[in-house]
C-alpha cells in the first residue's frame, strides 16, 4: 500500500502533534497540519491529501463551514473528510453524515487505533 497523506486541520497545536505522531507511528502516513479552516483549505488545494482530519470546534471558521468550503471547491471536493469532535450525539452524527463527511471520530480517541479507525471510515486497506 502506498503511503497515504493526511491533512490535519485543528486549531490545537498539541492535537496536531499527537495525531501526527500517532499516524506516523502506526501507519507511516505523511501528515500535514493546518491551524485554521482557511489555512487548511489552502493546504488542501496545494497538496491534495488523501484524507483530511477536520476539527469541528475552531474559532472564526468552524469545521462545518470549512467542510462546506472544501466541498464547494472543485479541487478539494473529492478529498474525504473525517471530523474530529469532542462529543457527538447520534443526531449530530446524522447531521454530519448528511453533510457528506466520511466519518466522525470522537475525542479523546484511542491513539493507537486512530489510523485503523480512519482507514475504516475511508475504506482503506491497512
Amino acid at each position: 500500500m502506498s503511503t497515504k497523506s493526511v491533512l490535519i486541520i485543528d486549531d490545537e497545536v498539541s492535537i496536531q502533534k499527537v495525531v501526527s505522531l500517532s499516524l506516523q507511528m502506526e501507519a507511516n502516513w505523511t501528515v500535514m497540519t493546518a491551524s485554521s479552516g482557511q489555512e487548511g483549505i489552502r493546504q488542501a488545494e496545494r497538496h491534495r491529501p488523501d484524507v483530511i482530519l477536520l476539527d469541528v470546534m475552531m474559532p472564526e471558521v468552524d469545521g462545518i463551514a470549512t467542510f462546506e468550503a472544501l466541498q464547494n471547491n472543485p479541487i478539494t471536493q473529492t478529498i474525504p473528510v473525517v471530523l474530529l469532535t469532542a462529543k457527538t450525539r447520534t443526531a449530530e452524527k446524522q447531521l454530519f453524515e448528511k453533510l457528506g463527511v466520511a466519518g466522525v471520530i470522537t475525542k479523546p480517541f484511542p491513539p493507537l487505533a486512530l489510523a485503523s479507525e480512519i482507514a475504516k471510515l475511508v475504506d482503506w486497506t491497512m
Binding site: K17, K107, P108, F109, P110
Partner: protein, 781 residues
C-alpha cells in the same frame, strides 16, 4: 267599567240611578273581578254584560262568599257567581220610589238594573241609594202643614209606607256596620224607639241550652238584664225547637189566664216588671267554615220586646217589623261570621306569609352571604390569575375563549374583553392555528397536552413558552341512552408559561458544557495520546522507573478522561438537559454495537462476549443505551477473571405493574424534520416552535436487557447501593479497576429517562446479572 251615554231624566229621578255601574263580561275571571271591586270601593255589586244587556249580578256579599267557600275561586268566572235572577226596571216607565223598594223586597234583591227600550243597560239602582232618597222625601214630607186627615186607605197605605221606610232605615243602619255588637245595639235601640217599648233585648241561646242577654235598650226606671245569664230551665229545649221553626209569641198580658205561661215563668218575668212581651226568633246563620251540605236551621237567639208599664196589644205591623228585623240580624250574623271567618283566614294567611317572608328573608340573607363569599372568592381568584406570570385561559368545547386573565393584555397587548367569546382560530392567524390544531383536538378529546412553542409578545420579541392544555371533564346524564355518569369534555384550561429564561439558561449551560467539554477533553486528548505513544516505547526506551511513572500517568489520564466524561454527562442528565432523542431501533443491533465497542477491552482481559438476541424494535436513544450497555459490559469485564464469558441478551418483557399515566410531552420525532412553525396569538410576526409528535402511549410491554457475568459477584446488601453516586462494591476497586463510581448512576439515570428500570441480581462469588428495561417501539404496541 263601561260609561253609559246620558239618557236624560229618569222617571223616578236621576238621584237614585248610578249611570256608571261596574260591569264586566260574564267570562271574566274572578281575580279580575275582585281587582275591579277593589278599585271601585263605592260599587256594591258588579253587573255581567253581554252585548250591552245585563246577564247577571254579583254583589260584594256574593263575591265574599265565594272567596270564603271556594278554594278554586281564582279560576272561577263571574258567570259562575251570579245566581240571582236579573230584575230590571225601564228607564222611562213611571214608578214611585216606594214601588221600586217593594220590587226589591219582593224579589229579595238589592239592586235594580235600569234598561232602555232595547233592554240595554243605562244605569243601576241600589237599595241603599233608594232608601236614602226615600228618607229625604220623608223628611221633606214631615211638615205640620202636610198632616191633613186622611182616608182609611190612605192611612193604611201611609202606615205601610212608614213601616217600609222604618224597616229600610233600620236595615240601612244595620248594613252600615259590620260590627255585630254595633248592629245588635242599633237594632234594639231602634226597635225600642219605634215600638215605644220599655225594653227591647236580644237573647242569645247557647248550645247547652243556657242563654244570655247580649244587647238591650231599656227605659228608665226599669231594671237592666244586660249580660245576665239564664239557666236552661228558663228556655227549655222544646221551646227552642218551636222558635227554631219560626214561632212568634206576642203576649199582651203575661198575667192573663190565656197567656199560656206557667206560674214560675210569670214570677220570673214579673221580677223584671214585664207586663207584655213580643218574641221573635233569630235563626242560626250559615257557617262558612262548616260543611255546605249541613244547612239545617238552628235557633241562635231571640229578639224580645217588653212592655213594663202596662199590658199591650202588639200590632201586626210590630210583629212583622220584629220578624224582619230578626231576619236582618240573622243576615248580619252571617256577615259577621263571614267577616270573622275571613279575618281568621287573613290572620292565618298573614301568619303563613309572615313565616314565609321570614324564611325568604333568611334565604335571601344566606344567598347574599353566599354571593358575597362567591364574589370574594372570585375576586381573589382573579387577583391570583391576573398576577401570576402565566397566560390562563378557558376554552369551551366549541373552541371559543370563555376566560382570559389580564396577563394576555400585559404580554400580548390583547385585553380579555376583546378575546372572550371569540374562537381560537379567529384570535390567532390561520397558519398558527394549523400548527396547534392537533393539540386542541387532543385536549377536547380528553387528553392532557403539553408542548413548547414560541410566542411573539407585544414589542415583537419572541419568547419561548410552554403550553399546557388540561381538559375539563364532567360527568353528565346521557338522557338519550338513559345512562348516568357519562363523561363529557366541556372544554379545556390553557396555561402558557414563559420559559425564555429557562431556555436561555439551558442554552448557556449547553454552551458552557460544550465549551467545558471541549476545553477539558482537548487537552486530555493531547495528554492521553502523548502518554499512549510514549508507552509504546517507540519513541525511546525509558528506565524501569520512568516506565513505571509513565504507566501511572497513562492510567490516571484514562481515569481522568472517564471521570470528565461521566461528571459532565451526569450533570447534564441531573439537570434535565439531556433530551433523549428516541427512535425505533433494533435491540439486537445495540447489543452488537456495544459488544464491538468493548471487544478490545474484552480481548485485553481474556474475556469472551456472547450475544443471544432477537430482532426487537425498541423506542430508545441508541447512543445512551449503548453507553449503558458498554458501562455494564465494562464492569463485567473488569470484575470477571480471565477466560470467563459475558452473555448479552435481550427479550420481550411484560411488566408486572402498570405504568402511571402522565402528561404527554411533545418531542420532535426524528422521522419528521425539525419544522420551525409559529404559534402566535396577536402579532403577525412569524416565530418558531418545536415540532411535535406524540410519544407512544404508555404500555406494559418492554424489552429486557441482561448483562451476565461469572465474576466475583456483589454482596446482596450492596445490590441497591451500587447504583448511587460514588458507590462501589469495594472502594479499593476504584483504584484497582479504575472505576469512577458514577457509571451505574449514569446507567440508572439513562434507563429511568426511558421510563424503564434497572436492577442487579447477584450472589457474591458466583457472578452477577444486570437487568434493565426499555419500552418497545410503537409499531409493536
Amino acid at each position: 267599567m263601561q260609561p253609559k251615554p246620558d239618557r236624560g231624566e229618569f222617571s223616578f229621578g236621576n238621584a237614585v240611578v248610578d249611570t256608571q255601574p261596574l260591569t264586566a263580561a260574564g267570562q271574566t275571571r274572578l281575580a279580575k273581578v275582585m281587582a275591579l271591586m277593589t278599585a271601585h270601593p263605592e260599587a256594591s255589586c258588579i253587573l255581567a254584560i253581554y252585548r250591552q244587556k245585563v246577564s247577571g249580578i254579583a254583589t260584594r256579599s256574593d263575591l265574599l262568599n265565594v272567596l270564603a267557600t271556594r278554594s278554586d275561586w281564582v279560576t272561577m268566572k263571574l258567570s259562575q257567581v251570579m245566581t240571582r235572577n236579573v230584575v230590571t226596571v225601564s228607564a222611562t216607565a213611571p214608578k214611585p220610589l216606594l214601588a221600586l223598594l217593594e220590587q226589591l223586597q219582593q224579589h229579595d234583591i238589592s239592586h235594580l238594573p235600569v234598561v232602555d227600550e232595547q233592554a240595554r243597560l243605562v244605569g243601576l239602582i241600589a237599595k241603599s241609594q233608594l232608601l236614602q232618597a226615600l228618607h229625604r222625601q220623608t223628611v221633606a214630607a214631615q211638615s205640620p202643614q202636610q198632616a191633613p186627615q186622611q182616608a182609611p186607605q190612605q192611612v193604611q197605605f201611609s202606615q205601610h209606607s212608614r213601616r217600609t221606610q222604618l224597616l229600610a232605615e233600620i236595615t240601612l243602619k244595620i248594613r252600615q256596620s259590620l260590627q255585630l255588637k254595633e248592629i245588635l245595639q242599633t237594632t234594639v235601640d231602634e226597635v225600642k224607639r219605634l215600638l215605644n217599648a220599655d225594653r227591647v233585648l236580644i237573647y242569645q241561646v247557647f248550645p247547652d241550652g243556657t242563654g244570655k242577654t247580649i244587647s238591650e235598650a231599656v227605659a228608665s226606671p226599669y231594671p237592666s238584664i244586660l249580660d245576665m245569664s239564664f239557666p236552661e230551665e228558663v228556655f227549655p229545649e222544646a221551646y227552642q225547637a218551636l222558635y227554631a221553626q219560626g214561632r212568634v209569641q206576642a203576649i199582651a198580658n203575661v198575667h192573663a189566664p190565656d197567656a199560656g205561661m206557667s206560674e214560675c215563668l210569670v214570677e220570673f218575668v214579673e221580677a223584671w216588671k214585664v207586663h207584655a212581651k213580643l218574641i221573635v226568633p233569630i235563626v242560626q246563620p250559615m257557617n262558612p267554615s262548616a260543611d255546605s251540605v249541613s244547612l239545617s236551621k238552628q235557633l241562635w237567639g231571640l229578639l224580645i220586646a217588653h212592655q213594663c208599664s202596662q199590658p199591650r196589644e202588639w200590632s201586626e205591623f210590630e210583629l212583622d217589623l220584629m220578624q224582619q228585623l230578626a231576619g236582618q240580624i240573622s243576615l248580619a250574623l252571617s256577615q259577621g261570621l263571614l267577616l270573622a271567618y275571613l279575618e281568621d283566614r287573613v290572620v292565618l294567611r298573614t301568619a303563613e306569609l309572615t313565616e314565609a317572608n321570614i324564611a325568604l328573608q333568611r334565604e335571601i340573607k344566606e344567598r347574599q352571604l353566599v354571593d358575597a363569599a362567591l364574589q370574594q372568592s372570585e375576586a381573589q381568584l382573579r387577583l391570583i390569575t391576573n398576577n401570576l406570570p402565566v397566560l390562563i385561559a378557558y376554552v369551551d368545547h366549541r373552541q371559543r375563549y370563555q376566560f382570559n386573565n389580564q396577563v394576555y393584555a400585559h404580554w400580548l397587548g390583547q385585553h380579555p374583553e376583546d378575546i372572550v367569546g371569540k374562537s381560537i382560530e379567529s384570535v390567532m392567524d390561520k397558519a398558527h392555528y394549523g400548527k396547534i390544531r392537533e393539540h386542541v383536538a387532543a385536549a377536547l378529546a380528553g387528553e392532557a397536552v403539553s408542548y413548547e412553542s414560541e410566542l411573539a409578545f407585544q414589542g415583537g420579541q419572541a419568547h419561548a413558552v410552554n403550553v399546557t392544555y388540561i381538559p375539563h371533564i364532567e360527568r353528565t346524564e346521557d338522557r338519550k341512552k338513559n345512562k348516568k355518569n357519562k363523561l363529557e369534555v366541556k372544554g379545556f384550561f390553557a396555561l402558557t408559561t414563559d420559559i425564555s429564561d429557562r431556555k436561555a439558561i439551558e442554552r448557556m449551560k449547553d454552551e458552557f458544557i460544550a465549551v467545558v467539554s471541549h476545553e477539558l477533553r482537548t487537552p486530555l486528548t493531547s495528554i492521553h495520546t502523548s502518554l499512549k505513544l510514549l508507552a509504546t516505547g517507540r519513541l525511546g526506551e525509558l528506565s524501569d522507573d520512568g516506565q513505571q511513572m509513565l504507566e501511572v500517568a497513562d492510567d490516571n489520564t484514562d481515569r481522568l478522561v472517564r471521570l470528565v466524561n461521566n461528571v459532565l454527562d451526569l450533570q447534564r442528565i441531573d439537570a434535565g438537559e439531556v433530551t433523549m432523542d428516541r427512535m425505533a431501533y433494533d435491540a439486537a443491533k445495540l447489543l452488537e454495537q456495544s459488544a464491538d465497542a468493548m471487544q478490545a477491552l474484552a480481548q485485553q482481559h481474556g474475556i469472551e462476549i456472547q450475544i443471544q438476541s432477537m430482532p426487537i424494535s425498541i423506542w430508545v436513544d441508541p447512543d445512551y443505551i449503548i453507553r449503558t450497555l458498554t458501562n455494564l459490559i465494562g464492569n463485567a469485564i473488569k470484575f470477571s477473571p480471565s477466560g470467563n464469558l459475558i452473555r448479552l441478551t435481550v427479550e420481550p418483557y411484560i411488566k408486572s405493574q402498570p405504568v402511571e399515566p402522565h402528561i404527554k410531552s411533545q418531542k420532535a420525532s426524528p422521522k419528521e424534520p425539525h419544522v420551525k412553525t409559529t404559534f402566535k396569538a396577536i402579532s403577525n410576526k412569524v416565530t418558531s416552535n418545536k415540532a411535535t409528535s406524540k410519544i407512544p402511549s404508555t404500555s406494559n410491554k418492554q424489552a429486557l436487557f441482561c448483562v451476565q457475568d461469572d465474576g466475583q459477584g456483589i454482596p446482596s446488601h450492596k445490590l441497591a447501593a451500587i447504583f448511587e453516586r460514588f458507590q462501589q462494591v469495594d472502594s479499593s476497586d476504584s483504584r484497582e479497576k479504575g472505576g469512577t463510581g458514577l457509571g451505574l448512576t449514569i446507567c440508572r439515570k439513562i434507563v429511568e429517562q426511558h421510563g424503564g428500570r434497572i436492577w442487579a441480581e447477584s450472589q457474591f462469588g458466583q457472578g452477577s446479572r444486570f437487568y434493565f428495561t426499555v419500552p418497545l417501539s410503537r409499531e409493536l404496541i
